[in-house]
């Protein structure tokens, strides 16, 4: 927990960073939009110490400081330069839409999930997002210029029925599979990867892909991919997804595999139950 003093210090540093950035932008206002954005991002990265504290404030998913700052900066920059669209690319130049039709794409909460949707929409995929109620999607959808707006399936007791309809229509499902459980005894958050989407892919025999978006040093959002092994059990596939995240420099951890429905009852701010355990996968071959 942050003391008031720490919060004040973090906010003071952030204001200093913003002033620095404002000054840079003012001095370089003749640059084209892409150049100005890229060079402004360089300023932020170079002055990480002024900005990184934001990750310590009100950040339940422990989202990386650069993702938090990037998103805030992009929203500001868009007001400055209305023609600005965040640059996004997929890390495989030879990608084809066919490979992802009717697939489940598993990722984690990091403010870049809509960017992932945009990246796949650009190659022609129709996107369906699986989302918890109350998540602020409309603003993100507008910001990343998703068109048409994706279908959204609410995460509830009927969501897998609708997910199955979506993949049968060859839409790509994007699912955030991470969640947190608060441990009141240890006073800490446990981070888990929910097994249900991996089981869904196994039971419906539809392709599964691991996806993770990161911001590179040039301020471009890069979407990293790996296709899951269809022979893996759901549990093993979930473990492999954790390995994929680690390979891609995922900085939040440790992660373990859990069952979101069983662990949280579908409710936010769930608390760790003493008997919380992994649901056995009936899909194991």
């Amino acid at each position: 927990m942050n003391s008031d003093k720490n919060v004040a210090l973090i906010e003071a540093k952030f204001r200093e960073g913003q002033k620095l950035l404002d000054s840079f932008i003012g001095q370089n206002s003749s640059l084209g939009t892409s150049d100005l954005f890229r060079k402004s991002w360089h300023v932020i990265v170079k002055n990480k110490a002024l900005f990184e504290g934001v990750a310590l404030l009100r950040n339940r998913f422990d989202i990386e400081w650069d993702n938090l700052v990037y998103f805030q900066f992009c929203r500001f920059f868009e007001k400055l330069r209305p023609d600005f669209v965040p640059p996004i690319r997929i890390d495989r130049p030879d990608i084809s839409m066919e490979e992802f039709c009717g697939s489940t794409l598993v990722t984690v909460h990091n403010l870049l999930e809509i960017a992932i949707a945009r990246a796949f929409q650009k190659i022609g995929l129709e996107i369906t997002l699986v989302s918890s109620p109350g998540i602020r999607l409309p603003g993100h959808i507008r910001f990343f210029r998703l068109a048409p707006a994706p279908l959204i399936i609410r995460r509830d007791r009927n969501c897998m029925l609708l997910m199955r309809d979506a993949v049968q229509l060859r839409r790509a499902l994007i699912v955030d599979v991470d969640y947190t459980l608060y441990d009141p005894e240890a006073k800490m958050l446990h981070r888990r990867i929910g097994i249900n989407s991996f089981e869904f892919s196994k039971r419906t025999r539809t392709p599964l892909h691991y996806v993770f978006a990161k911001i590179d040093v040039e301020g471009e959002i890069v979407v990293h991919l790996r296709k899951a092994n269809s022979e893996d059990s759901a549990g093993h596939a979930a473990q492999e997804f954790i390995r994929f995240l680690t390979t891609n420099d995922f900085r939040r951890g440790p992660l373990s595999v859990g069952d979101w429905f069983a662990d949280t009852g579908g409710k936010p701010n769930a608390v760790l139950k003493k008997s919380s355990s992994l649901r056995a996968s009936n899909a194991d071959g």
Partner: protein
């Protein structure tokens, strides 16, 4: 019991067997809800897939999502039988 009613009973009991629960009886399908059965999202997915196997046809997930009771489910399956 009609073919559809039998399919619903068999599919529900298949899910209950996987959950190591006792089967329900034929008469129960006219009184139970999906909430009574405590079927979560994975169970409902398994239910629709089992029904598709038993009835040898595709079943809409969106249609199934509106169902609350097993009686609703039977009526839904009868209504969509020839679609």
């Amino acid at each position: 019991m009609s073919r559809i009613e039998q399919a619903v009973l068999s599919a529900v009991n298949l899910i209950r067997l996987r959950r190591q629960q006792n089967p329900i009886e034929g008469k129960d399908i006219y009184s139970l809800t999906l909430d009574d059965l405590d079927f979560d999202s994975m169970d409902r997915l398994d239910l629709v897939m089992a029904l598709e196997d038993y009835l040898d046809r595709l079943i809409s997930g969106a249609g199934m999502a509106k169902v609350r009771t097993l009686t609703d489910l039977i009526q839904f399956l009868k209504k969509t039988e020839h679609e």
